[in-house]
Amino acid sequence: MVEWTDFERATIKDIFSKIEYDVVGPATLARCLVVYPWTQRYFGNFGNLYNAAAIAENAMVSKHGITILHGLDRAVKNMDDIKNTYAELSLLADCLTIVVAARFGNGFTGEVQAAFQKFLAVVVSSLGRHHKMVEWTDFERDTIQDIFSRIEYDVVGPAALARCLVVYPWTQRYFGGFGNLYNAAAIKGNPMVSKHGTTILHGLDGL
């Protein structure tokens, strides 16, 4: 539990209310890719990152920068409950497990399930606090690489997010701007859900 002073609370809310997300987000990510060029390894499919100018103009970098910054919105709104806010991600992790299980069938053995759930648990936990060093067995490494090399991102991502929104409907509160989420069919057909599902899955790539 972190204690926040009134000044700190006010300051955080003030900053986030004043920044233009679509300027600050892209600028931040672009700066990171320039100042710490090894971070470019996480964005192999982003196209031209050859120099600062290219990075600054790269549409995928801009888009992702905005996404990341919005990812902090929840924490800003819930400063006393940052841990629990990101705990909702464990619901998404459960749904992703279910979707991957459905696709892999019997290939998704207990051992594979254990490795996959450990991976997602570490991701969720790392988002909530400082990253810890985790030990991985060769089997776990190979399994994670194998799973992610075989899933079709633009099928699994949307399916996992859609399932999460149906099975745990309270998670829809995070997607007020997404339009029609009225029932399972609407959620499944919702292009913003699909797009965001794919984005999330790609977010696991770099890990």
Partner: protein, 144 residues
């Protein structure tokens, strides 16, 4: 937790009718998965000679669990009353920490996804998740 709506009950019954023929396999797979993915649950089975996930004892236990689930489906309109004796068994004799009900429920859902990928739609998933949560609650009723 929450009440099961009429739609939930209908969905659970319809899905169960489809899959109950394989209930032994489902149970065996769910218990096996639980023992592998959540090894701390093995503590409840220290009396088994063979604690491996696919041992005859584990399979038998899976069958027992799914028979209980199938029974719960028939008592879906009053789980608290219907599962009273099972609750007493779990509370006083087995003394399983109710936190483990959630773990086994999760693994049952994973097995449903593996074995019935097309039928285990999100709508079925949500109703079954609610149902297993309601069963878990009914099983914990007599604990304290």
């Amino acid at each position: 937790m929450t009440t099961l709506t009429a739609k939930d009950k209908q969905t659970v019954k319809a899905f169960w009718a489809k899959v109950s023929g394989k209930s032994e396999d489902i149970g065996a797979a769910a218990v096996a998965r639980m023992l592998v993915v959540y090894p701390q649950t093995k503590t409840y089975f220290s009396h088994w000679q063979d604690q491996s996930p696919n041992s005859p004892a584990a399979r038998k236990h899976g069958k027992t669990v799914m028979m209980g689930v199938g029974d719960a489906v028939t008592k879906i309109d009053d789980l608290k009353e219907g599962l009273k004796e099972l609750s007493e068994l779990h509370a006083f004799t087995l003394r399983v920490d109710p936190a483990n009900f959630k773990i086994l429920s999760h693994n049952i859902l994973v097995v449903m996804a593996v074995m019935f990928p097309t039928d285990f739609t999100p709508d079925v998933h949500v109703s079954l998740d609610k149902f297993l949560a309601a069963v878990s609650l009914a099983l914990a009723e007599k604990y304290r």
